[in-house]
């Protein structure tokens, strides 16, 4: 009958029958919601990603992101044309994500919520945030060998930076078609840091190394400079660092520069409190909600269920593991040449995943020696790992895009 036919056409049941794999996407959405809500894996991102995925899977709602191709002319359309033709989710995607706007805005908020104090108090340990970026580049090479394009390989590798906004920003610039799986892998592995770090640590360190007592070493071989005016140092530091980075790695400025600006308006205090509130609350929260929904909406059965996604999941894990390994090795090499020993767990946190990696490292250290509180030390390489991976992202973008 005519009415029933039109009723059926209105629903997405026909589409579901045509592409039953959509059910797998629904299942994925439910798994992500379970992980985000019940297991508390990065709920601020995984819940919107999962719900975005849920809403995206039927074309009738126009809530799924259509990738721009040479044919569909999306890149030439105005925002209004995109909204009219493809709905509000594509509007948000092409206005906020594809432009690369939201990750820098989130970095602005991250900066406004970051305290460089622990890093400044244990400055030399910040150096180990560099070695822990090796996973990014190792996986880049492996992925190219496996058949990914250079751009895709770079986007895959950056998962090893263990930093959500950095991974998303790099994907948007280098390989937007992989944004969904890369974002999910990045945030999932960040949430799995309490499992991954102990796993790598077990195979690469000895008990005696894990017992290296940071405070005792500090007393034996004092090296730190006491900070006599922390507030002034904290205000000048982001300005100085911003100048250096904009001079040496301009392509990382959208990320690092915004991070440092956010940090500056926090450290100035009450005079810029309005800016701080905008950065750490208004902009941060709003950007997170739209980023999550849009990333989720990029994933449909067609684009997600393929061997690339599987390779991203595997490659992302390898990138994480190699980065942790690199950080640990850097400490071990340092320890060969120095009388003053450093606990290799400090290297493991160079990965970033702030502050969970530091907490995990601290817990491991305390298991081997209940008096060995290494949280403050771990935070130094941990925070510097954020800068490290943002700089690495700048290099990837500069060379590959």
């Amino acid at each position: 009958m005519n009415i029933l036919e039109r009723l059926f056409e209105m629903t997405a049941l026909g589409e579901l029958i045509e592409s039953p794999l959509t059910l797998v996407m629904f299942a994925l959405a439910f798994v992500l919601l379970y992980l985000g809500i019940k297991k508390r894996f990065e709920p601020l991102l995984l819940v919107p990603i999962a719900f975005g995925l849920l809403l995206a899977n039927f074309p009738g709602g126009q809530m799924n992101v259509i990738q721009a191709t040479a044919d569909n002319g999306l890149l030439k359309m105005t925002i209004l044309e995109i909204a009219k033709e493809y709905g509000i989710m594509n509007m948000l995607y092409y206005l906020l994500i594809k432009t690369g706007l939201l990750p820098p805005l989130i970095f602005l908020g991250v900066g406004a919520m970051t305290d460089f104090g622990p890093m400044l108090r244990n400055l030399r340990l910040a150096f180990f945030g560099a070695a822990a970026q090796i996973g990014i580049f190792t996986v880049l090479i492996s992925a190219v060998a496996m058949g990914f394009t250079l751009k895709q390989a770079g986007a895959l590798g950056i998962i090893g930076g263990a930093d959500g906004p950095t991974a998303i920003y790099t994907s948007i610039v280098l390989a937007p078609e992989l944004l969904g799986p890369i974002a999910i892998a990045a945030y999932s592995y960040m949430a799995l840091v309490p499992v991954i770090i102990p796993f790598v640590v077990r195979f690469t360190t000895t008990e005696s190394e894990l017992k290296i007592h940071m405070k005792k070493q500090e007393k034996l071989y004092p090296s730190k400079t006491k900070i006599k005016n922390l507030r002034t140092v904290k205000i000048i530091f982001p300005i100085a660092l911003g100048t250096i980075v904009s001079l040496l790695v301009p392509s990382s400025v959208p990320l690092v520069g915004m991070l440092l600006f956010g940090n500056l308006i926090k450290e100035i205090g009450s005079d810029t409190n309005r800016l701080f509130k905008a950065a750490s609350e208004t902009i941060m929260n709003t950007a997170t909600i739209f980023l999550g929904l849009c990333v989720g909406a990029t994933m449909t059965a067609d684009t997600f269920l393929n061997s690339q996604t599987l390779m991203i999941v595997v490659g992302g894990f390898i990138a994480f593991a190699v980065s942790i390994f690199g950080g640990i090795m850097a400490v071990k090499i340092y320890n060969i040449f120095s009388k003053k020993k450093i606990n290799p767990l400090i290297g493991a946190t160079g990965l970033s995943a702030v502050p969970m990696a530091s907490r995990v490292a601290n817990d491991i250290a305390l298991k081997y020696d209940p008096s060995n509180h290494i949280l403050q030390y771990a935070m130094s390489s941990n925070i510097s790992g954020v800068i490290g991976s943002a700089v690495a992202a700048g290099v990837l973008i500069s060379f590959l895009s």
Binding site: I141, V144, K226, K228, F237, L248, L396, F399
Partner: protein, 95 residues
């Protein structure tokens, strides 16, 4: 060797050098900054009592030769950090 893999290798080398250089500069900038601030902007209550050994490397007379205090501190701190405390500045001449 595949051309893409060669590019990837170059990116690996350049990338790790850059990351190391930047984080080395983070450490260096931080150290210099802390020393300058300690010397010239230390908070009143705790200023002269807790001079670190690094700061005492600089003889006080240096400060009176017409070189701006901040510039002086920057030079002194830089030398100090780069030479890991072994180099000492005996005098600075301005032409």
């Amino acid at each position: 060797m595949n051309n893409d893999i060669q590019t990837a290798l170059i990116v690996l080398v350049v990338g790790m050098i850059t990351v190391f250089v930047i984080l080395a500069l983070v450490v260096l900038t931080g150290e210099i900054l802390i020393r300058i601030v300690n010397r010239f902007f230390a908070n009143p209550p705790s200023s002269q009592a807790h001079l670190s050994s690094a700061d005492t490397n600089v003889a006080t007379p240096l400060e009176t030769r017409g070189i701006p205090k901040q510039t002086l501190a920057a030079i002194v701190s830089t030398v100090d950090i780069i030479t890991e405390g072994k180099g000492k500045i005996k005098d600075i001449h301005t032409k």
